[in-house]
Amino acid sequence: MKKLINDADAVVTDALAGLAVAHPRLLGVDLATRVVYRRQGATPGKVGLVSGGGSGHEPLHAGFVGYGMLGAACPGEIFTSPVPDQIIEATNRADGGAGVLHVVKNYTGDVLNFEMAAELCAEDGIEVATVLVNDDVAVKDSLYTAGRRGTGATVFVEKIAGALAEWGASLGEVARLAGQVNTRSRSFGVALAACTVPAAGKPTFDLGESEIELGIGIHGEPGRSRVPAAPMREVVRTAMDALHEDMPLSGEVLVMVNGMGGTPLIELYGVFGEVAEYLARKGATPERSLVGNYVTSLDMQGFSVTACLLTDDLKRLWDAPVETAALRWGR
């Protein structure tokens, strides 16, 4: 394993310390409790948004703390959900008196820890609502799984619900819209090479030189199936077919082509071009787009594609000003 780290146990702390000094006007970082919050604090009377999850997905979530998105984020150990104490601290930081929305990706650990924290926050008198993100079509939502995973749509939920909160909507309205964004979004991921968790020291799974893994999650876990590597066009078609079969793509679409951490941008843009052609064939248009590394799996090579069926309201909220470390426009 070759990595730019000092010590496998210090990776998260080192990164948070760096984040704090890289964005001093934007972010405050409490290294003891591991909470990242807006430097200027919670806006009184505004609904706050809190998200968190395992580290290793940067810029998710800390990179999305700031005006128009999250009030606070709580990063756990690598690929491990935060603990209730962290979530409670983040909720306190984001609470402006109008309640707090927890944006939770659907993984057993995240769900359990956020549930425990939400109960304790309610006892402390903070109104908490939760939106569960479960956009990954690679997992069948059935009695035989823990349900669909939360992946790329998390960025859309945080951006769009965060914008609505900035406009002064109530907790109920923000939570409802967040759920709507999730319901209208689907994702699918593909890996060319597995990631290496620093504490494990070697890749989580081995992919042959001419193999790719379809339907991967964002924790380096193996995916739905392993197939021979194919030209990008065919890989994109497989991914887009999976989205389209689950939720017919039509009209105006918000599309994210997301790198898993170890994929060159030149390849991601190639993928986006192919995605746009696919959409055109279905009579859909990529009305808004994101191309880059937003929900990563450490150094994994591969990409995920997320599509959200837009409405005029969703488009307006997507376009609304945002100022975070990882997304910034209109302000």
Binding site: G54, G76, E77, I78, F79, T80, S81, P82, V83, P84, D85, Y107, T108, G109, L112, N113, M116, A138, V139, K140, L143, Y144, T145, A146, R149, V197, A199, A200, T204, F205, G217, H219, G220, E221, P222, G223, R224
Partner: protein, 219 residues
Amino acid sequence: MDARFFAAWMTETAHAVAAARDELTRLDAAIGDADHGTNLDRGFTAVTESPPAAATPREVLTAAGTTLIRKVGGASGPLYGTALRRMGAALPDTPEVSLADLAEALTAGVDGVRRLGGAAEGDKTMVDALAPAARALTEAVRAGASPEAALDAAMSAAEAGAKATVPLRARKGRASYLGERSVGHMDPGAASTSLLLAALRAACGPGSPGAGSGPAGPA
């Protein structure tokens, strides 16, 4: 069985988890996300590093469970933390508890895990090791077995339960995303549960099964 016995259980568990850290992570890498060993090691190290001034078995287990919930994260923190806290709550709040009390507490712990995680036996989770262990302990108590023999039986049942997860298809937790591809691997949660039951037996000290010696203090 007094507070020292239960503290010894936690210490034995911490040693066992530290020794098996890489193996647990390797099992987790096969069907999960390669962090089970490091997470549990961090949790049980925290449990033994700052042992609470606990006078009763109930206090030892409740405090240990709370520490796991606070320190571990992931699914295993809340699940193991809840198991220990439910066990603690089910014990009488007295300086000494009986083997029968322990059997009842372990059953309560299994119920807590089942309720929180929503897993049933056969879903390829820690419940597959924990539930048989609780049953074996209860049966041994009913048969009038010595603590050593009863905890031997619980340990063996957990180990067999963990091994029996290998051919199963996961239906809960992160391994469930793999569907059929989870078959052929031992569930890491069941494997670590088996370590906890072995540590419980070790805390009872040496003694041959069925020797009929009285309740033993920590080794």
